[in-house]
Structure formats: structure tokens, C-alpha cells
């Protein structure tokens, strides 16, 4: 069985935010207005943090992209009272929008605060309505949503492979953010496959994971030279 994971090379990230836009377009993430942004209600499955390092004049600005960590022991899955969020066999932490009761217990137990709640009824402009991705369901008000590693792309890749009567190749499945990244800072693949690049990169000395001490075992690895001062 495969275990999909991501490696994010922080030394390569240029902070262009292309991944953020690609994610929003691909996954029908609702566009928030400035008021929602100010009141912390905006939804963005992928977000790029800006971190200042050092003191003037020796300052460095660094960028930190954050998708869902797709933990191996996801704390959010444990507490869901209806099984709306679950870990699928290929390592993706998924959310069933039509089952979610909106109790927000999972959002509170996510140590990375990377789950998002729909505080409002989603609204789309007419232009946007025509551009919605038909492969991804629109979310209703009152449910929790999160990064799915563009799970629908995996489905599609599997269907294509079946149609062409061949095995699914690792390169067939790439999330939108990874596909878009111009500097190659985002790398995606199968963490169980010793030949894959993510496997190799996740083992090198530059690799670390967020809040490793909690034992959540994120499947998103970060790479950086020296220590990360986030």
C-alpha cells in the first residue's frame, strides 16, 4: 500500500504564493472578503507564512508553506464523534462534508490548527461559478474542511490507469500546489517506496517535521539548512 507524503524544501521556497492560489482554484475553496479575513474566518487549505529572521540590518525573510500535515496518528480523527474525518488506507486524512456535524472538536484537537470551519454560506461571483472544479464538492455552511492532498486527482489517476490497463505510477498523481510550484520547493510522492524522491529526502539530515514531540508523525516533511527559527 502506498503512503502519500510531501516534502517542502524551505530553502527553495520563494514565497510566490502560487501554491495558495492553485489550491483555492483546484479545490473550490471559498473566496473570503476582507472582513472575514480580519475576523480570522478566511479559509485557505494551503497558506504561506512569512517569518522574519535576525535583526536589522541583517534580516532574512523566510517562507513557510503549510498544507495539512496528514499525520500518521491524526489527533483530529480520534475525536470526531461521527467519523466524518478519517485516515484512508493510502495515508490521506480525509473529511466527509456531508457527514460532518460541525462540532469543531477536530479543529480544536489539531495541534497545527490546519482545519477550517465554514462560518458562512459559500458565495461565488457569476464568473467564478463557471470556473468551479466539477471534481470537488462545494462545501456547505457549518462543516469543517481541510487539505485533502487533492484526493480527487488520485481517483482520476487511478481511473485512467485502469482504463489503460496498467499499474498506477507515482508520477500520475500530483496535488495542485506541487504541480504549480515554480521553484520545485514542493515535492510529492510515496513515502513507502524506497526509490521515490520523497522517501530519500525525508531521510536526509535537513529534514524535520512540525511538533515531532507530539508523536503525530506528520507525512509532510520540511527541509532546511541549519536550524529553523520559526
Amino acid at each position: 500500500m502506498r503512503k502519500w507524503g510531501m516534502v517542502i524544501d524551505l530553502d527553495r521556497c520563494a514565497g510566490c504564493q502560487a501554491c495558495v492560489v492553485a489550491c483555492k482554484a483546484e479545490n473550490n475553496v471559498v473566496h473570503s472578503d476582507p472582513v472575514q479575513e480580519e475576523t480570522f474566518r478566511a479559509i485557505s487549505w494551503m497558506s504561506v507564512l512569512t517569518v522574519m529572521e535576525g535583526e536589522y540590518p541583517d534580516v532574512k525573510e523566510r517562507y513557510f508553506p503549510r498544507p495539512c500535515m496528514h499525520c500518521e496518528n491524526p489527533p483530529c480523527v480520534k475525536v470526531c464523534p461521527v467519523g466524518a474525518t478519517y485516515k484512508n488506507p493510502e495515508g490521506i486524512v480525509a473529511q466527509v462534508y456531508t457527514r460532518c456535524i460541525g462540532c469543531r472538536y477536530c479543529t480544536n484537537n489539531c495541534p497545527y490548527t490546519l482545519k477550517y470551519f465554514n462560518y458562512f454560506r459559500p458565495r461565488w461571483t457569476r464568473e467564478m461559478k463557471n470556473l468551479l472544479n466539477p471534481d470537488v464538492p462545494k462545501r456547505q455552511v457549518g462543516v469543517v474542511e481541510k487539505c485533502t492532498f487533492c484526493h480527487h486527482r488520485l481517483q482520476k489517476a487511478k481511473e485512467d490507469a485502469r482504463f489503460e490497463k496498467r499499474e498506477l505510477r507515482e508520477k500520475d498523481y500530483v496535488p495542485a500546489c506541487v504541480q504549480t510550484c515554480p521553484t520545485g520547493a514542493l515535492i510529492f510522492g510515496d513515502l513507502e517506496n524506497p526509490k521515490s524522491e520523497v522517501f530519500r529526502l525525508s531521510k536526509i539530515s535537513r529534514a524535520f517535521r512540525l511538533l515531532e514531540e507530539l508523536g503525530t508523525e506528520p507525512q509532510v516533511f520540511y527541509l532546511t539548512e541549519g536550524e529553523w527559527h520559526g
Binding site: 472575514q36 475576523t39 480570522f40 474566518r41 507564512l49 489527533p75 480520534k78 475525536v79 470526531c80 464523534p81 461521527v82 467519523g83 457527514r99 460532518c100 456535524i101 460541525g102 462540532c103 469543531r104 472538536y105 479543529t107 480544536n108 484537537n109 495541534p111 497545527y112 490548527t113 477550517y116 470551519f117 465554514n118 462560518y119 458562512f120 454560506r121 456547505q140 455552511v141 457549518g142 462543516v143 469543517v144 512540525l210 511538533l211 507530539l214 520559526g230
Partner: protein, 469 residues
């Protein structure tokens, strides 16, 4: 004998009076409460229409007023049943006048505890999914099970001791519409010896059953927080800490109810200073116990000095939640200590002030448990601010108003002081207690000679005492 009969008819008259006579104050109170409730209903409709965006919640502060209310109301519910069950089982004679007013609190307040958590859901219409598709590994499902059991058992426990009184009312209001209502509820109670025996046995059984359920309820409510891995929620003492807080706030709520009932229903002869004194002392004990837990909980986090815990700790003690935290310490510990530990100030007005303070303080306690953790998630990235919106305030006010309204309606329909239990106390209680107290003491020479079954029992027990020596 005639004397006793006069006494009883006076007793019945006193206790049924609140049901038959309705003053102007009643209508004014009900009107005010209905006004508050209708504002709350309006706010609720808006929330249903627009989603939870109308509240002050955001990311990462996903829980706020509603969850605080939920924990608070469930806490208050421990007033009744637990106190009344313990006092019943302990054969505390002074319980007779207060058990019912306590039990009513439990049942009525539970609705608003449950109501608040349903109100907090993003999709309340999917509530039943917790039953049809429930995953028992989630502490929220433990809540569902525990609270439903508690609601059912405490309703039964309220209803059982009501039956003889309902039957009395049925006979009083024979032929009227009210009488019909009481006839249905009385389920054919005739007061035969067999019926009494079954009733007493059932009450004792429920009293025993309800104590572990009540303890489980607030333990499980605390587990909702304790089972997460968030700083200062993930605490092993949360179970007993919450149960203590629950009983503490419950006693305060009961005392407030008693003061109001005593005044508005003119029951000064039934709810006497001794009841307030005893419950006041219990409140003082719980206050000290509560403080001990609060102290332990915070000192442990401070001394361990893990950065993520310290962030929450300082948010409470010196940060944005410091005003709430220190008001809580004042209202829940300093004020009760100051007023209740002195016999001169442990009067009914004094106890009333303390109880109101404790209620506010315990609400703040729940608030300072829920919020400081949420504004300080483990990763030092998202930092939120939370200000409740008018919708949350209106719905919270409406919950309190609705609880008070239901309570008033209960007082208007049923005797709030149990008539038969007071009678029983007059008939049997005094003798029983005398016999019990005598059995504690070494026998006098006279009694030894007189013999009889009771004396024999005393003999054996006193002999056992001697053996120990």
C-alpha cells in the same frame, strides 16, 4: 389527634398556596422572561439562517460562549440530584424541605446544557448522526451517552417522589381541567401500603443509581477537554476538578432558588435558617476543595514551565483573561471564605450574595478554561481574539431566562416542597432520629432492663463498640 390533623391541613394549605394563588409579580416576571427569551429566539433564527459566522468565533477560537454555557449548565445540574440523593441516602433529616427544589434544577437545567451544545453545532440537523453513525472513541459520544442517561434517571428521580403529592392535588382539584392533568400524572396512586413500599424502594434505588451517573456526567464533560492534546486542557485532574466545580456551582444555584422560593412563596416556616446554614457550610467546603484543585492545576503548569503551557497560564494570570480569572478567584474563593466562615455573616442574605457570586464565578471558571487554551495553540502562529457577538449574548441570556421560566412554571404546577416527605418527617422522622442517635450512645442502665427488639439492637451495637476498645 385533632391537633395533628389541623397541623397537616395547615401544612397542605401552605404548600399548595403557590399553586392556587398567583400574584401580580408572577405575571411581571413571566413577561420579562418571555421578552428575554423572544430576543434569544430571534438571535437563534438568525444564526440558523446565516451560520455560525454571526457569532464571535473564528480560527483558532472554535469554541466560545456556547461551550462555556454547556459546561456551566451541566455543572449546575449536579445541584439537585446529587445533593438530594446523597442527603437521602445519608438519612439527613433536614433534606426534606429542599430535595425537590434541588431535583427540579437538575432536570430543567440539563435541557439548556444539551441545548447549548446543539446550538454550537454547525449542522444541528445532523445531530442524530451521533447515534446512527456514532464513533465511540470520541469523548463527545461519551457525553451523549452519559448525559442522556442522566437526563432520564434524574427525570425519573424527580417524578417518583412527586407521585403522592400529585395524587393529593388530583383529589384537591377533582372535576377541573387541572384535576384531569394531575389524574394522568398520578398514575392511579392510592397510597396503599404496597404502593408505598414500592415507591420507597424505587426512590432508594434511583438515589443509589444516580450518584455514579452524576459523577460520570461531569467527568465525561471534562474529558472532552482533557482528551485533547492542547496545553492546559490535557490535564489528568480535570475529571475530579470539574465534578467538584459542578457540585460547588450546583449548591450555589440551589441556595439562590431556595432564597427566592422562600420569599415569593412565603415558605419561611419550611425553608428555615438551619437549611441555609447547613448548605452554606457545604458550599464553604466545596469552595475550599475547588480552590485546592485550581491551585494544583495552575501551579503544576507554571512549575513545569513548558512554553506552550506557560502561554496559556500567563494568558489567564496576567494576559487578556486576567480580569476574568481574578474575578473568578475572588467570587469563588475569597468571598465565600470571608462571608461563610463567620457565623455572624452566614445569614440568609449573606449566603444569597455568596451564591450569586459563586454562580458568576463558576461561569467565569468555565470561560477561563475554554478560551485561554484556544487563543494559544501549540504552534506559535495563529493567535486569535474572541469577543462574543450579540447573538451569543442574546442566546445565553435566553437560556438562563428559559430555565428560570420553566422553574417558575414548575412551582406553579407542583408543590415545590414535598408535602408527604414533610409529613413523614413529622410522623416518623423524629422517632427514627431519636432511636438512631440513641443507638450511637452507650446504653443507660434503665434501657437495658426494659428490653424489646430495639433495645436488643442497641445492645449488640454497643457491645461491638466495647469490643473495639
Amino acid at each position: 389527634m385533632d391537633n395533628a390533623r389541623d397541623d397537616y391541613s395547615k401544612l397542605e394549605e401552605d404548600l399548595i398556596k403557590p399553586i392556587t394563588q398567583t400574584g401580580r409579580d408572577f405575571y411581571i416576571t413571566v413577561a420579562i422572561l418571555l421578552a428575554v427569551i423572544s430576543v434569544g429566539v430571534f438571535a437563534w433564527i438568525i444564526q440558523l439562517r446565516d451560520g455560525l459566522g454571526v457569532t464571535g468565533l473564528n480560527r483558532p477560537i472554535y469554541w466560545g460562549f456556547y461551550i462555556t454555557n454547556f459546561v456551566f449548565f451541566i455543572g449546575i445540574s449536579h445541584a439537585g440530584t446529587l445533593i438530594s440523593a446523597i442527603l437521602r441516602l445519608a438519612n439527613a433529616e433536614w433534606r426534606r424541605a429542599i430535595t425537590r427544589s434541588a431535583e427540579v434544577i437538575t432536570v430543567l437545567v440539563l435541557f439548556w446544557g444539551v441545548g447549548n451544545i446543539i446550538n454550537d453545532l454547525g449542522r444541528p440537523e445532523r445531530l442524530l448522526d451521533t447515534i446512527f453513525h456514532g464513533k465511540f472513541q470520541s469523548p463527545l459520544l461519551w457525553d451523549v451517552v452519559s448525559i442522556s442517561a442522566y437526563l432520564i434517571c434524574s427525570s425519573v428521580y424527580l417524578y417518583l417522589p412527586l407521585i403522592p403529592d400529585i395524587a393529593l392535588l388530583r383529589d384537591k382539584f377533582k372535576g377541573t381541567k387541572r384535576g384531569k392533568f394531575y389524574r394522568i400524572l398520578a398514575i392511579g396512586w392510592k397510597g396503599t401500603a404496597k404502593q408505598w413500599k414500592i415507591l420507597q424502594r424505587m426512590i432508594s434505588l434511583m438515589a443509589i443509581l444516580i450518584i455514579p451517573i452524576a459523577v460520570s456526567v461531569h467527568t465525561v464533560v471534562s474529558y472532552v477537554f482533557a482528551m485533547t492534546i492542547q496545553p492546559m486542557w490535557h490535564s489528568t485532574i480535570f475529571g475530579p476538578y470539574f465534578v467538584t466545580g459542578a457540585i460547588f456551582s450546583g449548591i450555589a444555584a440551589l441556595l439562590i432558588a431556595m432564597v427566592v422560593i422562600r420569599k415569593s412563596c412565603h415558605l419561611q416556616a419550611y425553608l428555615k435558617p438551619v437549611h441555609f446554614n447547613n448548605l452554606g457550610l457545604l458550599l464553604l467546603v466545596m469552595s475550599i476543595l475547588w480552590f485546592y484543585f485550581t491551585f494544583t492545576e495552575n501551579l503544576t503548569s507554571f512549575y513545569g514551565a513548558e512554553p506552550s503551557h506557560l502561554a496559556v497560564f500567563y494568558a489567564k494570570l496576567t494576559g487578556p483573561y486576567a480580569p476574568y480569572f481574578w474575578s473568578m478567584v475572588f467570587l469563588c474563593f475569597i468571598l465565600p471564605m470571608a462571608i461563610l466562615s463567620n457565623r455572624k455573616t452566614r445569614t440568609i442574605p449573606g449566603i444569597f450574595i455568596v451564591s450569586c457570586g459563586v454562580i458568576v464565578g463558576m461561569w467565569l471558571e468555565r470561560y477561563t478554561i475554554v478560551l485561554p487554551t484556544l487563543i494559544n495553540p501549540r504552534l506559535p502562529i495563529e493567535r486569535g481574539v474572541y469577543t462574543p457577538s450579540w447573538v451569543e449574548l442574546a442566546i445565553t441570556a435566553a437560556c438562563f431566562a428559559a430555565f428560570i421560566l420553566l422553574y417558575i412554571l414548575f412551582v406553579k404546577m407542583f408543590p415545590i416542597v414535598s408535602i408527604w416527605e414533610i409529613k413523614e418527617g413529622k410522623e416518623l422522622g423524629v422517632e427514627e432520629t431519636t432511636a438512631r442517635v440513641k443507638s450511637y450512645l452507650p446504653d443507660t442502665v434503665l434501657e437495658k432492663k426494659s428490653g424489646g427488639s430495639g433495645a436488643n439492637e442497641n445492645d449488640s451495637s454497643s457491645r461491638r463498640e466495647n469490643d473495639h476498645e
